[in-house]
């Protein structure tokens, strides 16, 4: 059997601000080609957790390894695509066409002087084709709809040919009807291109059937390999601290 190095190896992660604990004692591993959803109540620490994985916030203590390397020593950041929460809320006067934005995804792989190579061009084209935004190429991002913009942001992340895509509430701005196809698209990236996908969401109902693993985050993390079971009423009630029957009503709406 082949020994597998996890993409992320997280041990005993803690994060506190001014003595107040935001996240405590979190440990998990993320392996190649996984499809993972992170859920939890507002303010539960989901965004904080992935910001730590990306080196944007420093854990109070604990260890993060990426591809077996300490986070501080990790250099191949192009392997990790990140789409932040509210990424689609760009300043409407920012001077960028859709193509300008997707090209940004190539920035760190282009040398200081090197111009935009044929390979760069190809990667940008591929990313745009996958997210179905090729025909928006010359449109200003400020003029797009929320859902279109979100697809552009993901195309930008895909342009560096990442091995893992981390998305913070990527469905913001995507209407109810498009949600299913949006998640189907993520799933396709996972299955067809082998890209590991980790996303934060509040749409428990929409994703329930498809995810392989579910992280529930509310100060502590519960890692669950059988999501259907995790979505039982009792666990939900504990996670959100409310009567989870309400959530199940929400689920049936879809």
């Amino acid at each position: 059997m082949k020994f597998k190095v996890p993409i992320f190896d997280v041990k005993n992660l803690n994060f506190s601000v001014k003595g107040q604990s935001i996240l405590s004692n979190i440990s998990f591993e993320i392996f190649a080609e996984e499809y993972i959803a992170i859920i939890g109540p507002n303010g539960g620490g989901k965004t904080t957790l992935i910001r730590m994985l990306l080196g944007l916030d420093k854990p109070t203590n604990g260890n993060i390894k990426i591809y077996g390397k300490k986070l501080e020593d990790f250099k191949d950041w192009y392997k990790i695509g990140y789409v932040p929460q509210r990424a689609s809320l760009v300043d409407s006067s920012f001077p960028a066409t859709v193509l300008d934005i997707v090209k940004m995804g190539r920035t760190s792989q282009r040398g200081f002087f090197s111009s935009f190579s044929e390979e760069d061009k190809q990667f940008v084209q591929d990313a745009m084709a996958k997210m179905d935004v090729l025909d928006l190429s010359d449109k200003m991002v400020g003029m797009l709809s929320g859902g279109q913009r979100q697809r552009v942001m993901i195309a930008r992340a895909l342009a560096s040919k990442p091995k893992i895509l981390i998305l913070d509430e990527p469905n913001t701005g995507v209407d109810m009807v498009s949600q299913k196809s949006f998640y189907a698209l993520l799933r396709q990236l996972n299955k067809d291109d082998g890209i590991t996908i980790v996303f934060i969401t509040h749409d428990i109902g929409v994703i329930a059937d498809d995810i392989a693993r579910l992280f529930t985050i509310n100060q502590k993390a519960t890692i669950c390999n059988n999501p259907k079971q995790a979505l039982s009423c009792q666990e939900m009630s504990e996670l959100y601290g409310i009567d989870a029957h309400l959530l199940h009503v929400h689920k049936h709406e879809h």
């Binding site: 944007l56 932040p84 006067s93 001077p95 960028a96 300008d100 940004m104």
Partner: protein, 266 residues
């Protein structure tokens, strides 16, 4: 008429310096505006004035001193911002008025309140020496090369600093680089545009170009054309009406801004 203007050596020097400055101010200005650094450029201009004051009083080249003081100030601002998250309009306002106060006191004590100082405040086409042109061209080329090499990184950072960082862009280094380059450009510009008005030349061409709502490259080009047009027109007006060149340049760029606003109103 224009032939007459260019028959003067000082006008040739002023135009040469002015064109270099227009190119530098508009290119760096694009990043200054997109990063919301407008207040930083204003503050750096006043720090440069401290250098001018030291230069005038102590007898060093004021332009060189301006470059040195503006860079020190730029590093201090960026250090406060990155190490303490201490970055707000109020901190910049404090540094701005502090610098101005220090400059005024140095100049008063040194007895240098004179026309020479006036030209550093509002710009003057009469005062550009051949050494100034050489200094502007030399430092200006370095600044221009830096901007061109790192433009794609700076653009990415302006769009989203954190996403740029997570995709491997050296954000910290480039932030220092940008403020340093801006400091150099501001210090070089005060000969022609003056300390009190250089902020306007950096910011307004880009803000005008943004009204057209076009992509990055087009925005940069429009802003460059606006800066070149207003510097040329402003210096010409300065020549024929004996007005401080900084003031006429800023009036021209303001005129362009208003026209851009009206042309693109929705």
């Amino acid at each position: 008429m224009l032939i007459e203007m260019f028959s003067y050596d000082f006008m040739q020097r002023a135009f040469l310096a002015g064109i270099i400055i227009a190119i530098l101010a508009s290119l760096s200005g694009t990043f200054v505006v997109l990063r919301r650094y407008s207040m930083i450029s204003e503050t750096l201009a006043h720090s440069a004035l401290v250098g001018v004051a030291v230069g005038l009083v102590a007898g060093y080249n004021p332009l060189w001193m301006a470059v040195v003081f503006a860079i020190i100030s730029a590093w201090l601002i960026e250090y406060l911002r990155s190490a303490f998250s201490l970055y707000s309009d109020s901190v910049l306002a404090i540094m701005l008025s502090g610098s101005l106060a220090v400059a005024v006191i140095i100049v008063s004590l040194g007895g240098a309140f004179n026309n020479s100082l006036f030209s550093y405040l509002f710009g003057s086409i009469l005062s550009v020496s051949i050494e100034d042109v050489i200094t502007i061209a030399a430092f200006g080329s370095i600044a221009l090369v830096m901007l061109l090499i790192f433009s794609k990184e700076l653009y990415f950072i302006a769009y989203d600093e954190e996403v740029a960082k997570t995709s491997g862009v050296k954000v910290k280094f480039l932030n220092f680089l940008l403020v340093s380059v801006v400091a150099i450009i501001i210090a070089l510009s005060i000969r022609i545009v003056g300390t009190l008005l250089i902020g306007a030349l950096m910011v307004i061409p880009t803000v005008s170009a943004l009204q057209f709502r076009v992509g990055f490259l087009k925005t940069v080009i429009i802003s460059l054309i606006f800066a070149l047009a207003s510097v040329s027109a402003g210096m010409t007006l300065s020549f024929y009406f004996s007005l401080p060149s900084g003031a006429t340049i800023v009036l021209c760029v303001l005129f362009i801004f208003i026209v851009s606003l009206i042309a693109n109103r929705r």
